[in-house]
């Protein structure tokens, strides 16, 4: 099962390696990981996309909580939440493909944020599956480069992760 774990962690040097080290030492998966300071600069918020059985997920949350720098841990996917991922994708945009690329970007509500005679950089935000679909919809030969941020997510409504 796919799970999104959100972590509030002291914004100390080495905090990231404590989390990453825990996952590798205990054989847990990290499919994506994003981290940045929160509105309170002494705290970072980390979002980890992982997968595993319920037992494994129980251990992951418990082990994360055990890290001294970790303030709070939540499995976002346990309840209503929204998730987003940002992708920047550089595509070949020449001849008839130039117009096609523009149309595709529009259909997926992407934005073209860099233009040269032969390339576009398209910015696309959404659930990871939407980004996957966009890549699948393009002619693979036209994709020059992709970069994705990994998933970040937030609980809906009153579900708040804060100190």
């Amino acid at each position: 099962m796919r799970h999104i774990i959100s972590i509030l962690i002291e914004n100390e040097s080495g905090a990231l390696s404590r989390v990453a080290g825990l996952f590798s030492a205990r054989g847990y998966n990290i499919e994506s990981l994003t981290v940045a300071p929160t509105e309170d600069p002494s705290l970072s918020r980390m979002t980890i996309l992982t997968s595993g059985s319920d037992d494994v997920l129980e251990q992951i949350t418990k082990q994360l909580n055990k890290l001294v720098d970790v303030v709070k841990v939540v499995d976002l996917s346990e309840a209503a939440h929204v998730e987003r991922e940002l992708m920047l994708i550089k595509v070949r945009a020449t001849g008839k493909d130039r117009e096609e690329m523009k149309r595709m970007a529009d259909i997926f509500r992407g934005r073209i944020i860099d233009v040269t005679e032969s390339t576009y950089v398209i910015e696309l935000t959404g659930a990871s599956s939407k980004l996957d679909s966009f890549i699948a919809a393009l002619d693979a030969g036209l994709i020059l480069e992709t970069v994705r941020t990994g998933v970040c997510g937030i609980g809906r409504g009153d579900r708040i992760l804060k100190v």
């Binding site: 962690i9 080495g14 080290g21 030492a25 037992d55 909580n65 001294v68 970790v70 100190v163």
Partner: protein
């Protein structure tokens, strides 16, 4: 204003640290200079940094205080890693202060530089790199706080040399609050009530007590609880002494080398009360086999991640063992009736006891079990026993009946050979004048044998019980049983003459080769040579094996037993 180095020492004084185990070097010279100028904190100069950490670890294990080690950067640190990992696996509170190259050199591959925080991260409860002298005192305060609270563990504080030279006001915080670290102490009352209800219904109960009982100083409370319930008690290797081994309700140690009665009682119990134990692979054997019996499990542990990790638990109780048992006892005051069927369970247990699974064959040679039995008699069962890892460790655990907590000092989780002698040093520093025996083998003892020199310097009269079979006994036992007697690299040849070696270090050496000489030699060592380190080289039967044994991958009841005598 005082220097960073003086701050370090003042912090140790504030923490009432009476001794540190260490080894000087370039990065800690300022700290050693500050140490020189005072006499409140004693320093024990070891011969290898690994031993400093083991000794600090045993200082903790044998007392209720936090052991401290002090080493220099680079190789000083890398030498401590085995000791830190050993303490981490057994949840031992310890603070390791390490020197680091000056701040401006960090990351430049400076002389004796290593990434201390990176190298130790996977085997510490927490670690710190001090980047500002203003944070130094607070960081050390945090280190002691984190090491000793919650599930205890080692904490490393890495201190760059320039920080120890800088001047700063000293202000040691009295208490500390950390928003990210608030371990649970009190158990959930609802859960405790539920547990008591289940205990009432139990027909085939067992109390399974681990190292957590010792760490939380709950041995007395546990005994009170067990007596009230009239349930059998089994201890893990780490839990020995947490319940008196000579008590009628004790069924002995369980696990890979547990007694027949303990392993059967654990397996066939309908209710298990697990107290500060973690169902590890050496305890329950094959987890599928273990879960083949239907039963209810109550698990008390301060670390939530220990609960339902390997065995699904029905009633988890997160909290300090001492506090939770105390709550249980209060609830039991309201009246408790043990199920009448428990009497039948005791009959069944007595039947298992009848198998006498710890009986061993006699021989013309000295049997190692016999040495431990005699050691028990000669020391009145009241010595601190340290051990290394292997057959001798199991013999010590099986045949020395520990009635008190913190008397059995060994590396359970990591299984570190070489800890025994430095453990003896730590025990003696925490318990001056105590009887300390290190039950070891000729393999393990050679891993930290240089510490005989430290023992000479500080007059530490450890009795080294070397069960010498000229083989790495436990390896040999496995090879005999599972590798068709192909004894690959398990013979230890070219052994030193241990008697001469002991004498070379300035100690007393004895070589004991006949069974009838065992007891007189031990008596002599503990009376005439009470104040000497005595290296007792017992030449034992080379074929002695540890039984019962649950082979790797086998179920807890699928024991290999010694032939019936």
């Amino acid at each position: 204003m005082i220097s960073g180095a003086e701050i370090v020492i003042r912090c140790l004084q504030e923490e009432k640290v009476d001794c540190v185990f260490g080894y000087p070097g370039g990065s800690v010279l300022h700290i050693y200079d500050a140490l020189f100028k005072q006499d409140q904190v004693k320093h024990i100069l070891v011969r290898h940094e690994q031993a400093a950490v083991h000794a600090a670890d045993a200082y903790s294990r044998s007392s209720q205080r936090v052991g401290v080690a002090l080493v220099t950067s680079g190789p000083g640190v890398t030498n401590t890693v085995t000791g830190i990992a050993t303490a981490y696996m057994d949840s031992i509170p310890m603070v390791v202060l390490t020197g680091q190259v000056p701040t401006q050199y960090i990351g430049q591959d400076a002389f004796q530089e290593c990434d201390t925080v990176g190298i130790t991260r996977p085997c510490v409860k927490h670690n710190f790199l001090v980047k500002d002298v203003k944070d130094l005192a607070l960081t050390i305060k945090k280190a002691f706080h984190i090491a000793a609270t919650g599930r205890p563990g080692p904490v490393v504080v890495d201190i760059p040399k320039d920080i120890t030279a800088q001047m700063c006001e000293f202000d040691y915080p009295k208490s500390i609050q950390m928003r990210s670290y608030n371990p649970v102490v009190k158990g959930h009352l609802g859960q405790i009530k539920k547990a008591v209800q289940i205990l009432q219904e139990a027909k085939r109960p067992i109390i399974y007590a681990g190292g957590g009982v010792i760490l939380s100083d709950a041995a007395e409370k546990l005994t009170e609880l067990a007596r009230k319930l009239n349930f059998p008690v089994t201890n893990t290797l780490m839990g020995l002494g947490g319940y008196p081994a000579t008590d009628a309700q004790s069924v002995g140690m369980l696990g890979m080398h547990g007694t027949f009665e303990a392993n059967n009682a654990m397996h066939y119990a309908d209710v298990i009360l697990a107290v500060g134990a973690r169902f590890d692979d050496r305890v329950i054997g094959n987890p599928e086999h273990f879960s083949s019996e239907k039963r209810r499990v109550i698990h008390i542990d301060i670390d939530p991640s220990s609960i339902s990790k390997r065995v699904k638990v029905d009633v988890p109780i997160v909290g300090n063992v001492l506090d939770v048992i105390d709550e249980m006892l209060k609830l039991l005051d309201g009246g408790f009736t043990t199920d009448p069927e428990v009497a039948d369970w005791w009959k069944q247990i007595d039947e298992w006891r009848g198998r006498k699974s710890l009986a061993y064959r006699q021989s013309d040679h000295i049997m190692p079990q016999f040495v431990v039995e005699k050691l028990y008699e000669v020391t009145g069962g009241d010595a601190f026993i340290t051990s290394d890892v292997g057959q001798h460790q199991m013999f010590a655990a099986q045949y020395y009946k520990f009635d008190k907590p913190r008397r059995w000092i060994n590396s359970g989780g990591l299984g570190t050979m070489g800890v025994g002698l430095p453990y003896g040093m730590g025990v003696l520093m925490a318990n001056p004048g105590a009887q300390v025996a290190c039950v070891t083998g000729e393999g393990s003892i050679q891993m930290c044998i240089q510490e005989m020199s430290t023992c000479k310097q500080y007059g530490l009269p450890i009795k080294i019980i070397n069960l010498n079979n000229g083989m790495l006994g436990m390896v040999r036992q496995w090879q005999e049983m599972f590798y068709s007697k192909r004894y690959s690299q398990s013979y230890v040849t070219s052994l030193p003459d241990f008697v001469k070696l002991a004498e070379a270090y300035g100690h007393v050496g004895m070589r004991i080769e006949k069974p009838e000489d065992v007891e007189p030699a031990l008596r002599k060592a503990f009376t005439e040579h009470k104040d000497d380190l005595v290296f007792m080289d017992f030449i034992i039967d080379p074929g002695a094996n540890v039984f019962p044994m649950v082979a790797a991958g086998k179920g807890l009841t699928e024991m290999i037993l010694a032939e019936e005598l």
